[in-house]
Symmetry: C2
Subunit: 151 residues, 2 copies
């Protein structure tokens, strides 16, 4: 048996993006076309007792990477974020969970584009909810899938 893919993704986050891991952001689910992530409220509060905006940004933004890891071939491609808009809907006062998905057509188009041109864009919309299921933030992100250079 290979190790749990979520554990592998979190090990990569810990090793390569320590600021994100240090906030407590974790991949929670990852399969082709779907990803979820979580972050605790503990240590992540702000000046009015809600979760800091940069933590909400991060738990949503990371989904581009988590989803890419389970959707595209990580030996051929890596993702990067180009532009992200976040709307803060309600103060988050509990641990939160973010989710995002990509449809098959977008996955196939991005894979083909990145293979042919070295890069492709994909749009990812994420929803961040609190422990009661209330939407606390939504994001609209434009990511790029880059082909790894042959070495």
């Amino acid at each position: 048996m290979s190790e749990n893919p979520i554990d592998s993704i979190n090990a990569v986050i810990e090793a390569s993006v320590p600021a994100l891991y240090g906030m407590g952001v974790r991949a929670a689910e990852a399969r082709p076309g779907f990803a979820a992530s979580t972050v605790p409220i503990e240590g992540n509060g702000n000046h009015f007792g809600a979760m800091y905006a940069g933590v909400l940004f991060s738990v949503a933004e990371v989904l581009g990477g988590v989803l890419a890891a389970s959707t595209f071939d990580p030996t051929k491609f890596f993702p990067l974020v180009k532009d992200l808009q976040i709307s803060f809907r309600k103060p988050a006062t509990t641990d939160v969970r973010a989710e995002a998905q990509l449809d098959d057509e977008t996955v196939q188009r991005a894979t083909a584009d990145a293979a042919a041109n070295g890069k492709a864009e994909f749009v990812l919309d994420a929803v961040v909810t609190d422990a009661q299921g209330v939407t606390v933030a939504t994001t609209h992100g434009i990511y790029q899938l880059r082909a790894l250079r042959a070495s």
Copy 2:
């Protein structure tokens, strides 16, 4: 002599937004209508050797608070971010600095609105530059200035 206002602002960040302080985000300059902030690359890298997106978001987003602290009366008002769009222009591989400003007319309008209605919106555009002065990210943020409730 009172203490340095920047030290006071950074003390508030440390006490009330520990995730932000932990990244190394610091207020660097603050006067009415102008604010600057910094964050080091050390500890803030990502999976391709540049500064993590959530750190770039945070060093820019914090300017809404830093600028508000030096522009509006903190005994009467506090700021919160409602919506922020960030565009990643170039990979940041050095410490970075963010700057933003508000013109007098906007400051006066927001102050009057918040005093009259309990809240006011203001738009803040920030620019994040690397050690060579290259723009690595720009943000367009919509903030709310909220009147503190009488207790």
